[in-house]
Symmetry: C2
Subunit: 261 residues, 2 copies
Amino acid sequence: MQHKNVIEGLELLLRNRDHFQLRPDEFELLRESVCEVRELSRGQVAVRQGEEVQISTLLLQGMMTRKVDGRDGRRHLVAVHFPGEFVDLHAYTLKHLDHDVAALTNVKIAVFRHEQLMKIQADHPALTRRLWFSTLLDAALHRQWVYRLSCLDAASRVAHFICETNARLMAIGVSGGRKFGLPMTQSEIGEVCGLTNVHVSRVLRRLRDLKLCDVSRSVVDILDLRGLAELGQFQPDYLYLRSAIATASMGQAPGRAGPGK
Amino acid sequence: MQHKNVIEGLELLLRNRDHFQLRPDEFELLRESVCEVRELSRGQVAVRQGEEVQISTLLLQGMMTRKVDGRDGRRHLVAVHFPGEFVDLHAYTLKHLDHDVAALTNVKIAVFRHEQLMKIQADHPALTRRLWFSTLLDAALHRQWVYRLSCLDAASRVAHFICETNARLMAIGVSGGRKFGLPMTQSEIGEVCGLTNVHVSRVLRRLRDLKLCDVSRSVVDILDLRGLAELGQFQPDYLYLRSAIATASMGQAPGRAGPGK
DNA sequence: CGAATAATTGACCGAAATCAATACGGGTGG
DNA sequence: CCACCCGTATTGATTTCGGTCAATTATTCG
């Protein structure tokens, strides 16, 4: 049922973010504000760059991506989204987007009309702040992606991306911390990490040889989370997760601040 | 006078952004909400990564930057800010930042306490939306920086950065569209574009040889804006500027959509 | 089962990093 | 006012990482 999807998807919104999890009344208000549940199939474009939009979408099931493409055909995935994330809430204030939004898998999305969001914004400052927060989380992710491209080499970039994805999926209970499905081709991973598909293939083999992680047929199996995080220089602070989740996602025992030093 | 600085700085906030310029009453409200004007000297760090903050700062004069640094000493400038920009409004919802904020020149900043911003948010949804917009503008910039690092080669990255900076400075009346001061060393430009200082030097010489632009002793002189924008694949849409400013910043005559094609 | 898409592997190339030496320039103090 | 110095910029020689081109091999899916 559509209804059930909405509830499950909404429950994931801002999950495991201290101080920013939804209160029951806010949850209810959001649920009532959904105007439609829609399905898209893999590859379908939900919002085209530049077009005026009156709606924003929250991802309920599946994975979506946001991509920027240049005049010359080269393009880059600037974000990947998982269930419970407000994919293009940015459109609420920007009105039109500077990138495309597309489905990476078959997906279910909840649609919010901007007029509904304006009502929320007028009457519910605390909830508004949580929604604002979720867009700034995206910005923090963007910054880290900039860092990754600029400061890390190929293997580290991929390692970083895998650690990040693992941490985000842990937060919504999709990854247990070791293994998760990642329905992306090596070309798409390349478009995330600024590498060619060929080089992604080489890097993944190396990660396998190093016994750090095994990525094959759309499944990521992390063999040494600690080592992978080390290689990828991964520090999960920027995900603003509850500390238990954050430390677990680094391959450290939760409940302590990490080894002394 | 501090007072005068605040007014001048605030007048630049969201200048030349259609639908998002401040109304006079909003302007006044913001001006009253400033709790302090502070000066920082070049290199000083305003907010350190991770530290709890209760304030956000709007840049009145000078240039600031936001930097992410990795464990190994490599670091990247993830944003550069100009007068009239709300440098770390992100901290209002995030509470602590994932990066450092520092002064690139001697600067004057206006300080807003978060409790003041909460009051604004509670009572003034339209103004809140404009402020929200300004943070999403940062996110759009981030996305473009990701694209730049991933899809462009060294010369194009630098060209893109120069075009972007020129456009942003035009919007606030600091660049006439050809020439402006850019108080950054080549190492800092390198930290923006993901290049070494050595290679930045080579690229700048090439841009000079190509008669595209001349960067020396902190002054950028654009000789062929059209050509520079072409090389840098620069499309100013993501800056959400008023169309006249946007087209002018691409080296096209304002008032038309560009040459037929 | 077969076609199309995705992944792998090798040979070669090129853009930018690195290492290193030198020149410039602008501020300070003699 | 000049000389000195330190940070910045320039230029060259060499190396390296990842891209490109190309040929096979796996997978997936109709």
